[in-house]
Symmetry: C2
Subunit: 201 residues, 2 copies
Amino acid sequence: MTSPFSFARFSNVSARKQEILEIAAQLFATKGYRGTSIRDIGNRAGVLGGSLYHHIKSKNALFVELHNAALDAAAERIEQAVAKVHNPAARLEAACVTFVEIQVDVDSLTFPMMSDFREVPDDVRKELIARRDRFENFFRRLVDELALPPEIDRSVYRNALLAQLNSVPNWYRPGRLSAAEIGRQIALIFLPDEAARTRPA
Amino acid sequence: MTSPFSFARFSNVSARKQEILEIAAQLFATKGYRGTSIRDIGNRAGVLGGSLYHHIKSKNALFVELHNAALDAAAERIEQAVAKVHNPAARLEAACVTFVEIQVDVDSLTFPMMSDFREVPDDVRKELIARRDRFENFFRRLVDELALPPEIDRSVYRNALLAQLNSVPNWYRPGRLSAAEIGRQIALIFLPDEAARTRPA
DNA sequence: CCTACCGATCGGTAGG
DNA sequence: CCTACCGATCGGTAGG
């Protein structure tokens, strides 16, 4: 067993490169972009830093590749979870639950990647932001489906919801509540009518 | 005019050191902790990096000092804004509005400081987290005052609210809505009953 | 506040 | 995948 990860996220890639990508993802998640050196990644992979350049083009390119793979995997999981549901509020709740499950899953590449854009070089940041659009557009549609009080600004609402979901790893500690329960709690905050509906009269 | 900042936040400190602190705060806010070098700060202050060590003890100590001053100033402003109000929901709304105003005010030391704890060394992170307690306890009381649906977990609610407010600088772009309007929108999300109360029947 | 420097670390490369 | 190295940059210091 060379890695705690067990998914096949990178199909056109050698087994060795998959190992390296997974190690790098874990380190970026824990230490951030600047806090993870090429030599750190090499250490965990059992080689010297310079040897990694047979598999990667640059640290920047490695980070972009990981980030895009993580975003795509998360988008796919969330879209699948939502597709089974038809009530707009329940669709948003399903998205929240799945999003939080991904965020707190240590076996998921996805959890690190969304934040700390200030740490990456300017040109890398531009690529990452552009790629986030699939994600944001999907949530834009989810939010537009909802019946909300007219004084709610849907743009603020959507940004707030995404920021909320992204922030979960910053404060969540495993134990008392499951990831699904956290996701449902976030949905309760953003969907008060749902709360009212399930509240004992 | 040596600096765009015009508040006297550090009282027992020479004018020159105040300049340096303000420059450092701006740079940390924009570039993050690791992205800001001692030489960067020196450049903006018109001296070489090494010369700063007459005024500061270390980069770590500088960051901790700034972070604590920013937290205390923000806590004070928010507590003052809330003290004038008595309805629990209105108190929370006042806290949200003031918090967002601080966060997006470029003339405020405060806006940078709350996040990217992963970037700082481990021992620094411990100090910062300890100091955050005043802030969190104040919001704990604000939240405990509220009438909320019984199925809402108040711990998740409080963490979600703080994460929300902290995330504003990550997505807010000046123009369409003012800081106060953003703060009110966030309060609307977290206080659905208030939204209902002000909604035309 | 500068000169002049230290030891460490960084991303990356040539050549095998 | 390693050896051996590059140029750059980092936080920090001694001595004036």
